[in-house]
Amino acid sequence: MSRPTLVGESETLLRSILATVPDAMIVIDDHGRILSFSAAAEKMFGYSEGDVVGENVSMLMPSPDRERHDKYIRDYRETGERKIIGIGRVTTARHRDGYTFPIELAVGEAAMGDQRIFTGFIHDISERRQTELRLRDLQSELAHVGRLSEMASFASSLAHELNQPLTAIANYCEAARDLIPEGAHQNDALLREALVEAAKESVRAGQIVRRLREFVSHGESLRAPESVNRLVTEASALALVGSREHGIEVQLQLAPDLDDVPVDRIQIQQVLTNLIRNAVDAMIDSPERSLTIRTESGPDRMVTVTVEDTGTGIAESVAGQLFQPFITSKTTGMGVGLSISRTIIESHGGRIWFEPNEGAGTVFHFTLPIVGAGE
């Protein structure tokens, strides 16, 4: 039996595959110029192939990638360091009509003669079903972390509260022991022994509570060096699904050349998602709906992330206790988001705070140390 052969038909076959693959495919040269734009890409971005061939691919990106893409390619040409090729990531794309949408982007590289070409496969994850699956994954991961952080907060306050009475018990026992006259009666010796043991047990109980606290607060955290800009890009792409419908204008202002920061990726994404969702919720009824997310390197080897909204702002009555658990202005939710966010940021050695936005709305900031938290 002879095998079917593709020779001579391979190009036809390739074209038919490309015409039917649901992901968009865009081929560019090593200066970012578009060479080929698939049918799915035409549908996804609203441009026809004829509109875009020869144009810079950065036209399909929102800021800041739009301005920086040429530099990304140049850096890669010069250093050969792969930031996306063969790795892939979740990021944001820009439609012809100006709105942005979350995508999963995979990039491959090939040589054609002496020319290098890059092929991008783009999967639109704003498409309801996939997005929900993807979000559900992330959310269940986040919910798990959330429960752990809540437990950590709970264990931590439990340990603090219990330590005081346990200390008091030990003190009373020891003081009572010293009141018993030496050797007067046989029962006195037994009484002394009982009080000494009671004091010891109380100290032991304190140590158990403390170990529980240490276990819960440090046991589950996995830290690795991560790019803060990448965390911000991914978290905002996911948190902002659906916000297009609310007409929210989103700006990412990411500082270039930020050092990697040792963090638990999921935990920091949870904080970001939390702040971004809060910002979106606060702006739903506002005349101006503008969200700015900024990264910058601050003094003292810290990275600062800022989430700024033009929403309703924070009522003075809750401002003082905003980071306490169970404080909320929303009708849904437990009001633990910011409390957990603070637990997470502080366990990373950073700080989180907020201030009113000039005009309207709220600005949240948090910092993360570039070197690991001193523990």
Partner: protein, 95 residues
Amino acid sequence: MSEAPKVVHLVDDDDSVRRSVGFMLKTSGFRVNAFASGADLLKELKSLDPGCILLDIRMPGMDGLQVQEALNEGGNALPVIIMTGHGDVPYLSGP
């Protein structure tokens, strides 16, 4: 006639710890002058009887080290002892 008991000026924000430490000191023959915060102690700094000052290190508001600093600035001449550990070890294992 016995000597007047020596005085301990005790500062701890936690009620149960403050009272138990006070009890312990009293049973050991000291007179205890208790304060719930560093600020309360500092208000009476000028009129404190001679004795020693015992500070909890971890308190809301001014912590033990900040109280000590304020005491130094206020010209305090009494010896200061700071309690650390918070339940990790017994606060005081006797006089």
